[in-house]
């Protein structure tokens, strides 16, 4: 399946673009996706935190991803 990942803030700057498309095995977990992105973009490892959101909710590490999910990479938020 193809996953489309939205990127924000410093994650967008590290990757150098605001969306990423990656091919992944069906049902790949959040944790597996994160590990892969962190390997490809080592600067992501230096962030205070890095979460994945699926359909506007924070996703747990073991949540499986699906092609039609709205996926986003969430670096440490700093609103307010």
């Amino acid at each position: 399946m193809n996953l489309k990942i939205a990127l924000f803030g410093i994650a967008r700057e590290i990757v150098g673009q605001s969306t990423l498309e990656v091919a992944a095995p069906e049902g790949q977990s959040v944790q597996e996706l994160l590990a892969r992105l962190q390997q490809e973009y080592p600067a992501l490892n230096r962030l205070s935190s890095l979460a994945v959101a699926v359909n506007n909710e924070y996703a747990s590490d073991d949540a499986p991803l699906h092609e039609r999910d709205e996926i986003a990479l969430i670096p440490p938020v700093s609103g307010g």
Binding site: I10, S48, N56, Y58, I74, P76, S78, G79, G80
Partner: protein, 139 residues
């Protein structure tokens, strides 16, 4: 009643306050976050807020709903966050709540701004004379 907004224009504080008026509420607590002229001792020139809009709006509403569950006497809640470029003194966020009695207005308002800062998908970049930093990005 919950009012949530994420806008790229100046926040109208007076209009926001009017949204929480309620004849059954004797107490209104409001938190306004503005852009300070320095951050950890360093002079700040301006800020830029970037948002993941759909998630930010969804999470803002969730935070407001959680506050209503925790303080059932809460009458009205308004949270408006600004995004884009902000200058010193500009209002970045306003949280306003109305309750019958005052203690709950303080507690609910503080809960909302504290939780907003932990979960809402908005990112702040501070610009200094000699550079810029995504706030809280690194340990």
């Amino acid at each position: 009643m919950i009012t949530i907004d994420l806008i790229d224009q100046p926040i109208d504080v007076n209009a926001a306050l009017q949204t929480v008026e309620d004849d059954g509420a004797g107490a209104i607590n409001t938190f306004i976050g503005t852009v300070r002229n320095k951050s950890t001792g360093r002079p700040v020139i301006r800020l830029e807020y970037e948002a993941y809009d759909s998630m930010a709006l969804h999470q803002l509403r969730k935070v407001a709903e959680q506050a209503q569950q925790q303080w059932p006497m809460l009458r009205k809640v308004t949270v408006i966050h600004r995004k884009g470029t902000l200058n010193i003194g500009d209002v970045a966020v306003i949280v306003a709540v109305s309750t019958p009695h005052r203690a709950e207005s303080f507690a609910a308002c503080q809960y909302i701004i504290d939780t907003l800062k932990q979960v809402v998908t908005i990112w702040k970049k501070e610009f200094y004379e000699d550079g810029d930093v995504w706030v809280a990005a690194h340990p």
